[in-house]
Amino acid sequence: MIKVENLYKQFGENEVLKNISTHIDSGEVVSIIGPSGSGKSTFLRCLNMLETPSQGKVWVNNQEITDKKTNIMKVREQIGMVFQHFYLFPHLTVLENLTYAPMKVKGESRESAEKKARELLAKVGLSEKETAYPNNLSGGQKQRVAIARALAMEPKLMLFDEPTSALDPEMVKEVLNVMKDLAQSGMTMAIVTHEMGFAREVSDRIMFLDEGKLLEEGSPNEFFNNPRTTRAKDFLEKVL
């Protein structure tokens, strides 16, 4: 599904990603963890070209998205992204947030877009909120709408950048539950998270980033029980 080869990213002098090579298979759930500032967000954003890599190549579905000739907009239609701060469209209702891109980008009819949107809202438990505006929702509700909005495009891959970090503690669970369901449905997912319990439970693989390097990669059991590097050991001691 995704292949990353010798990926580098610099912001000016600051080298944020250093020679990352990895892959994410179809149906796989990968959690990306590591200290703050280690480049997790930047790495995730290179997967849909919200950041342009300085060097290296990224393929999505065998299409090289780092190739300038690739129409990145078309690729992005297949990649859903969920942000820490939701970024719902505040001037659109919940339903319109879900139908906007399918109608305008994929040219779906209003009827089918709304039908699908309602199914998704039911799935994330927010059917009664379809006419509400985002600012009248709680953080947890906003994030569930944001997940549904991304799913409305019927993506093949979902990227999550700390989807629960901006939430009050009591709302974390409702969002994680939606993500668990999604993982069980076979969706390919890349998740940046600080929720170690969740990462351990749902992930097929853990990636540990530290100072821009992909230091470790392995199954949750391997990683959490026997981290190979001292950096990972130190990190886990702090967060667990």
Binding site: L50, M73, K74, P90, H91, Y100, V105, P134
Partner: protein
């Protein structure tokens, strides 16, 4: 104090006609300035350096010189340079529209830049093309925030419109002067059109408030 408003009564229809004469060019100038200002604001936030430059130079020129000078230049220079005998009506629309565009473009630019960058990212992540993103996502949010500033600009333009009396356009202001010259009484006609200007501004402000209330979607 010897105010005598009865003196101007016969002139009232003549003065009232000036309302439409003023409004006619003010409305067109506002729309023209607004459209051009929107385009210029997009130039200013564009990643294209040449467009940036055009936007900046344009604003600098029109904000950096007196409006009355711009009006005079357009009215007198165009016939001199091109031989085209420009009418006061057209010259007024051009001068006020071009001038207003400079201010409007700054207001909209600031409004666009005040929209959370995450909105752009969310739209991009959904594969929304730039044009649609601007039209459907960014500009509606920007306009909501800048509505008071825009209304302020429209109010200023309406009031400053009285400047066109200097090129012989028979607007409200000019009509007050004509009546003043005819009756040898300046105070009454000036007070009278002053009242009319004030009423027009009140209507404009009220309309702005209504639009503003309608747009309060999110909070």
């Amino acid at each position: 104090m010897n105010l005598d408003f009865s003196q101007i009564v016969p002139y009232i229809p003549f003065i009232l006609k000036g309302i439409w004469v003023t409004l006619k060019f003010v409305i067109i100038a506002i729309i023209f300035g607004f459209l051009l200002g929107t385009i210029l604001s997009l130039f200013k936030i564009s990643s294209n350096k040449a467009l940036n430059w055009i936007g900046k130079v344009y604003t600098s020129i029109f904000r950096g010189t007196p409006l009355i000078l711009q009006l005079m230049l357009i009215y007198f220079a165009i016939p001199q340079l091109t031989g085209y005998d420009i009418q006061p009506f057209l010259a007024s629309i051009l001068a006020f529209g071009l001038n207003s565009a400079a201010y409007v473009s700054e207001i909209i630019r600031a409004g666009i830049q005040a929209v959370d960058k995450g909105q752009t990212e969310a739209a991009q992540a959904l594969g929304v093309p730039y044009r649609l993103m601007m039209k459907d996502i960014i500009l509606p949010q920007a306009f909501k925030n800048i509505l008071p500033a825009l209304m302020n600009e429209f109010v200023t333009l309406t009031k400053e419109s009285a400047l066109v009396s200097t090129i012989g356009y028979l607007d409200l202001m000019r009509r007050a002067q004509v009546v003043g010259a005819d009756t040898y009484r300046n105070f009454e006609p000036l007070i009278f059109v002053g009242l009319i200007y004030w009423l027009m501004i009140m209507v404009l402000t009220t309309m702005g408030r209504i639009v503003e209330r309608r747009m309060k979607f999110s909070d």
